[in-house]
Amino acid sequence: MISRRDFLARSAFIGCSLAASPLATPVTFAAAAWDARLVVIILRGGMDGLDVVRPVGDPAYAALRPTLAAANLGLDLDGYFQLHPALAPLMPLWQREELGFFHAVSTPYRDKRSHFDGQDILEAGTDPRGAFARGGWLNRMLQVMPDVRADTAYAIGNNDIRVLNGDAAVANWAPDARLTLSPAALRLAELVMEDDPALHAAVAEAQMLSDSTAPGGGGGRAHQKVARFAADRLRGSARIAAFSLNGWDTHRRQDRSLPRSLQQLSETLLTLRSGVGADVWGKTAVIAMTEFGRTARENGTGGTDHGTAGLMVMAGGAVRGGQVMGRWPGLDPANLYQERDLMPTADVRAPAAWIMRGLTGLDRSTLETSVFPGLQMGSDPGLLR
């Protein structure tokens, strides 16, 4: 249960004297040997990829989505796909080829269409019918990287980010978190917690993070604070950040609910971009992924129900954007998965693995066995510049 903070607890116990303990002595952080930045955004609730990047060139599209297709006009991407208008603020990124999409991707999860199982599998990065692996895939990537420090990777927010859970050290923090204890109180806190490794480690980590991060300044809504915090860390010694955006479960009146979530995504990406600055942005890849896509047909209440294949969003100066990647399966009833959902034509883990390979130089066999056990990465789709 305590895995990822184990090392902190242990280091405190080994260093029996108070002076050596991480509670009493702020640890100095150092940058990792690698320089690229990876941001993973988990879009919780099942983003409707077919409404975000609309296949208007597909002859079956309009009939499947009579209300949604007509609700608001999309922005042309490549003559075949159109972008949802709520992402209009990202068009400059698309034009600069800093924004791209991978369509018709899914995790190996099938058929039950549960958010909660779907998210668990997305973050575990495993195939439920295949090999088991502990923790989340982004943590397993850290486990095979050199020079990983306590603040190389940040899981940000007030809730658990399972994609970063695991044995490698990860900083867990929120923009508004703060631990302010006098040195004397801190020593007593360490004493009180000493027999509980999990709580002790959490406090030790909180103390280090409180000392090393400035209070989350600036206004804006929660997602903007998170993005600003992530950017702030990535501009420094952090290399990886992961957080989630909620609100994608659009069963009803999707024409009203989806734009709100897309606006958050768009503000998040733009805040990251301006926050890290041009230099770091040039080395950054952001991937936003979701547990599943939604039904090809809109439902009876102006929304869509849980489906299978969906969309991955990629952004950043390191990304070769300006294109909608992936093999398009078509929306003809015969081509739908179970006559209902967009057919998956790629495992969402494959583009994620290619991006990690490009950013860090990790070799393919490590990615296919340790990070995403059982994955076949296939041929290089050329997602990075």
């Binding site: 919780r44 609730g45 007030n158 900083a171 631990l179 909180a206 009876g300 209440t301």
Partner: protein
């Protein structure tokens, strides 16, 4: 291992309170749960009807104000609508206080814990401004009456409540061949949301023996469940899908009716997969993230033997020695941690009832959010996490420590003497380092904060 009066309150209630005797035996615990609900009687909340009335009134003023933006009457109506919203927020904060007072003052803490457990299991949230205040009323009407009753009754009460119908979009779902769909050209049809979550979360569990086809058929069977424009319950047979529907192999009646919906929910409530799913969740919640197989099997069997009599299940749990095993205790959730702190400090009605909305936000709503558990507001219908690892995070534990060191002194004129409070808060079982910290801290606020932050208090 068997009944232990201190663990009884600590693990199965909101901890010890200075002015209240704890349960003497298992029998007194169970007798209290089987008896009347004193906490609700003492700190009543308005019914869901009150939310509906507020909604109707607000809408009337708001519409008039919008239609007549330039007239004096219109402006005054718009102002009244605003006031209704403001008052609703104030009221909501008062309901939070009453909710705390029930936990603080009860001698039947087990009931309050069961209410919290089932309220989370049947999470429903309002998605518009006034319905977002409806949770306390929803829980009082759907959960409280049944925590010592039948699971089937609780399931039916929750699944047919207007707040749930609204939250999981059932309200707008219509059978593709229903009378309404056939006579109305506007596209109308199914919405699977509620049907899926009933199978996956409320009854069988995600690993349960159902398929997409069962989800579809149950969604068709649920058509007709709806709410009026004032959020009263209404069964609309015009929206119901005609013809029989087959769920898990059983076929439910050809003619749209509430009876079939009650029947399918009753069958789902009694299903062996439901028994196993719920028994495990109960054991994980109350005892440990890794409950013994024997304990889970025991509670599952009690559920099956009694067709989901929750009183029998609770008694079975408490009678099993593994329920009193303390080798791998859970961490209290933030919601529980805050209530247990207030209870053990003896912060009562006089201090809490005078708090205004801004105080409740500052002392409770925001801190609970930082701890990871905003009041009655989990991210999805699966409720809050049961796993300890989800709560023991640097940011979550920081938020608890910050609260424990600052908020009690804002709620109490005089904090208790930490040297005696430490015994009291931990039922006399005080680890040496905590006793040392209690007398060595630089001031009372820090000492109290350290006692409340100690593993002995946070775990149960």
């Amino acid at each position: 291992m068997s009944f232990d009066p201190i663990l009884a309150e600590h693990r199965f209630g909101y901890g010890h309170s200075i002015g209240l005797r704890g349960p003497e035996s298992l029998d007194t615990m169970l007798a209290a749960l089987a008896g009347p609900d004193h906490a609700q009687a003492e700190y009543p909340l308005p019914p869901f009807r009150h939310i509906q009335d507020t909604f109707v009134l607000w809408r009337r003023f708001q519409r008039f104000g919008r239609a007549n933006p330039d007239s004096k009457e219109g402006k005054s109506a718009a102002e009244k609508a605003q006031n209704i919203r403001r008052e609703a927020r104030e009221e909501h904060a008062q309901w939070f206080i009453r909710h705390q007072l029930r936990r603080i003052s009860t001698r039947d803490g087990l009931r309050e814990r069961l209410v919290a457990f089932w309220a989370d299991h049947f999470t429903a949230r309002g998605k518009n401004l006034l319905l977002s205040h409806a949770n306390p009323a929803y829980v009082d009407e759907t959960i409280r009456p049944h925590v010592a009753g039948r699971f089937a009754d609780m399931l039916i009460a929750c699944v047919t409540h207007p707040l749930m119908l609204h939250y999981l979009d059932q309200n707008a779902s219509a059978g593709p061949n229903s009378r309404l769909a056939r006579r109305n050209d506007r596209v109308r049809g199914l919405n699977e949301n509620l049907a899926r979550e009933v199978l996956e979360l409320h009854t069988l569990g995600a690993g349960g023996p159902y398929t997409q086809q069962d989800v579809r058929e149950l969604a068709e069977l649920f058509t007709g469940l709806g709410a009026t424009r004032d959020w009263g319950f209404k069964f609309r047979s015009a929206m119901a899908e005609p013809g029989g529907e087959t769920v898990l192999g059983a076929t439910y009646g050809a003619k749209p009716s509430m009876d079939h919906i009650r029947d399918v929910l009753t069958d789902l409530a009694h299903h062996p997969a439901t028994a196993a799913h719920l028994a495990r969740k109960i054991c994980v919640h109350f005892v440990s993230d890794t409950p013994s197989k024997a304990l889970v099997a025991h509670v599952t069997q009690a559920f099956l033997d009694t067709d989901g009599d929750l009183m029998a299940c609770t008694a079975t749990l408490l009678n099993h020695p593994d329920a009193w095993d303390t080798t791998a205790p859970n961490i209290r959730t933030p919601d529980e941690f805050v209530s247990a702190s207030l209870r053990t400090l003896g912060i009562g009605a006089d201090a809490l009832e005078k708090l205004r909305l801004s105080d409740v936000r500052k002392h409770f709503f925001r801190p609970l959010r930082r701890m990871g558990q905003p009041w009655y507001a989990p991210g999805g219908p699966d409720g809050f996490d049961e796993a300890d690892a989800a709560w023991i995070t640097p940011q979550g534990i920081s938020a608890r420590m910050d609260w424990a060191m600052t908020v009690p002194s804002r709620l109490m004129q005089n904090l208790p003497d930490p040297r005696t409070f430490v015994d009291h808060a931990l039922g006399g079982r005080v680890p040496k380092p905590v006793r040392f910290a209690a007398q060595a801290a630089e001031n009372r606020a820090v000492a109290v904060g350290l006692i409340l932050s100690s593993p002995a208090f946070q775990r149960r």
